[in-house]
């Protein structure tokens, strides 16, 4: 399982990070779905179709490693605010024990949140096949979407404030079914543009034959 890249260097600049680092270090993202390819599947039927759960790995593209850093920064910012609030509140009681406990609580919570978010970042993946785009995501609830290029209505590429700071963008694919829309976050700007153009071209080509 290729991990997108080493998590950030020890983020010494954030007070909540020390707690965040240990959980992410063992990057043993537990095997997502039992790797067994469907034994009942008549594999001879479509030998070209890669395993849809993406265990074979190499064709799946992943968001930029900066997405992990971005999520950590978000946790860090929220954590700092929470830390200030908690410390201030506990300080009002004037007991150093309360201050210590609240700081520890915030740090632990931020660490847990960071752990979950890092695992979520690592769970994202997309695979461009001949006729459709596969997008997988999710840690607790795992999702795998298959969207045929011919069914795309349009493609969005947008970037929020935080995303722009990390030079990332999110690509969104819209179909006529509201529930069928998929997105891929944390793409490098060049990759987002490439994906957008490729999807648009493919949508045109495949959609025209409809």
């Amino acid at each position: 399982m290729p991990v997108p890249g080493p998590p950030t260097a020890p983020p010494a600049d954030r007070p909540t990070a020390p707690a965040a680092d240990p959980p992410t270090a063992p990057a043993a993202d537990p095997p997502t779905v039992p790797a067994a390819d469907p034994p009942t599947a008549p594999a001879a039927d479509r030998p070209t179709v890669p395993a849809a759960d993406g265990r074979d790995g190499e064709e799946w593209r992943r968001p930029s490693p900066r997405l992990g850093r971005m999520r950590r920064a978000e946790v860090g910012l929220v954590g700092l605010v929470a830390l200030a609030l908690a410390a201030g509140l506990a300080g009002a009681f004037g007991s150093p024990v309360a201050v210590g406990a609240s700081v520890a609580g915030v740090v632990v919570a931020a660490g847990l949140a960071d752990n979950l978010l890092q695992r979520r970042v690592r769970s994202w993946g997309y695979l461009e096949r001949a006729d459709d785009l596969l997008v997988r995501r999710g840690v607790m609830v795992r999702r795998l979407s298959v969207v045929p290029y011919g069914r795309m209505q349009f493609v969005d590429v947008d970037a929020g404030l935080v995303e722009r700071a990390f030079r990332l963008a999110t690509a969104r694919l819209h179909t006529a079914a509201a529930a069928g829309d998929v997105r891929v976050p944390g793409l490098e700007a060049s990759e987002a543009a490439r994906l957008r153009d490729r999807l648009a071209a493919l949508g045109e080509a495949k959609g025209a034959g409809l």
Binding site: P34, A52, V141, R143, V146, V155
Partner: protein
């Protein structure tokens, strides 16, 4: 001057007005409101002449506005396009190529019905918007409708309308009984019975609960009443261009469900109906799909195909709207009852080369059929509890908000197999559909097919 068929009056270049009484119907609701306000004010006699003059002025302005809007609205058929012009200040002109018209509905709200008027509503492929001609006199509306339909199908305008064969007709009495026996009707009955029981046993306690019981009752009864009035006198007929639906008690609707536009079919069997062997069939028709960036709530996308009826009639209709469906539902694995104990008994799903189907439900069984050619995306979703049990769900999304068939809680291996094979089946089904000439017209894609419309970077 408002007879489109008759005195075309060469002087006005073939332009027609709407019926002179249309402003009355269009603003009947506003007028009713104003009349009520006026009546209340007069009865209370608390307001002086000034307030009354104000009310009257508002009413007059509304009426004048309605009349002006009628005066400046006109329409004509220009060879193969329908042109409408509206608006006094902001003049709007619209041209509808009749070849792109999917269906023409005839709608009669209660007020229009009293005055013998009807509205024509043209559904246009691609763009989700309707074009309305409100209102024409009823004979005119029917004549114009068949003329426009004939033009839309490339026939001569005076050709006879295509013949129809009746398929289903539902007596209103049976519809009323069926609504009483459905979930909300039954709940309403039990609320009444409960209140009555309390009244008998504890006369003192009635007053406090009567109010809330009434509120619950109104909330339960009004949708049921709406369903009875909108689907009363239901008749379904088979015509060359699709299925014709006629129904309604106060507001009557005559509409066509075009061939090849059915996105999904739902078969609903509430608990009490099953004892009588009754079913309800609904279709999901592509309403406003893909014409805006964000999808809009398409009005009345779900239409009843059979409000209530026996399984034999349902089977005939299913064969009619889903020709050649052979998919056999297979129940979910036994361990799914740990995850869905209340609905396990109805969980089933399956597919064949052209259709997918999935059923679920706790008390009422709901079975959804989707033509694989309409599927927009295939999704596999596996929650933590499902992973523990080795289960996963497959969603087959079709156009529209929350329209899909969900094969819930299948075996995880089977689900993974499905998510690899179903997209290929969908592709083949699409190709097969596109090769049919009829379907090609109906499947014309909206113009903004896929270009990158927005890039915010």
């Amino acid at each position: 001057m408002s007879r489109p068929g008759a005195d075309l009056g060469s002087g006005n270049g073939g332009w027609h007005r709407l019926h002179p009484l249309s402003p009355v119907v269009r603003f009947s609701r506003a007028l009713v409101g104003l009349v009520v306000v006026l009546g209340v004010n007069t009865a209370q006699a608390r307001s002086g002449a000034g307030a009354r003059i104000g009310d009257i002025a508002v009413a007059v302005v509304a009426l004048v506005g309605a009349v002006v809007s009628w005066l400046v609205t006109r329409w004509r058929v220009d060879g193969v396009t329908l042109r409408t012009e509206t608006g006094l200040v902001r003049r709007g002109s619209r041209q509808v190529p009749l070849a792109r018209v999917q269906a023409i509905d005839l709608i009669q709200p209660a007020a229009a019905r009293l005055l013998g008027l009807a509205e024509l509503r043209l559904r246009v492929a691609g763009s989700g918007s309707h074009v309305r001609l409100a209102y024409l006199s009823q004979p005119d509306a029917e004549e114009t409708r068949s003329r426009l339909l004939a033009l839309a199908q490339g026939a001569r305008p005076d050709a006879a309308p295509p013949p129809e064969t009746p398929l289903v007709s539902v007596p209103t009495s049976r519809l009323a009984v069926s609504v009483l026996l459905s979930g909300s009707g039954f709940l309403a009955l039990s609320v009444v019975a409960g209140t009555a029981a309390v009244a008998v046993l504890l006369p003192g306690a009635v007053a406090p609960i009567a109010g809330s019981a009434a509120v619950v009752l109104i909330a339960l009864v009004s949708p049921a009443v709406r369903r009875v009035t909108s689907e009363a006198d239901f008749r379904l007929a088979d015509a060359a261009d699709g299925l014709r639906v006629r129904c309604g008690l106060l507001e009557t609707v005559a509409e066509t469900i075009p061939r090849g536009r059915v996105q999904a079919v739902r078969q609903v069997e509430p608990l009490l109906w099953r004892a009588l062997g009754w079913q309800r069939l609904e279709v999901v028709v592509a309403g406003s799909v893909g014409h805006r960036r964000r999808e809009e709530p398409a009005r009345r996308v779900v239409r009843a195909l059979m409000p209530v009826g026996p399984p034999a009639a349902a089977a005939v209709l299913l064969e009619r709207v889903l020709p050649g469906a052979r998919a056999v539902p297979r129940p979910a694995p036994r361990r799914a009852q740990w995850k869905a104990p209340l609905s396990y008994h109805f969980l089933a799903g399956g597919h064949d080369d052209a259709y997918g189907l999935a059923s679920s439900g706790r008390l009422r069984r709901s079975t959804a059929w989707v033509p694989l050619a309409k599927v927009q995306s295939v999704r596999l979703v596996q929650g933590p509890w499902q992973r523990w049990l080795g289960l996963a769900s497959i969603h087959l999304d079709v156009p529209g908000r929350r329209q899909r068939a969900t094969l819930r809680d299948r075996d995880a291996n089977e689900a993974r197999h499905l998510v690899t094979t179903l997209p290929e089946l969908c592709r083949r089904a699409r190709a097969a559909e596109a090769s049919q000439p009829q379907a090609q017209v109906l499947q014309r894609r909206p113009q903004p097919a896929a270009p990158p419309l927005r890039a915010t970077r």
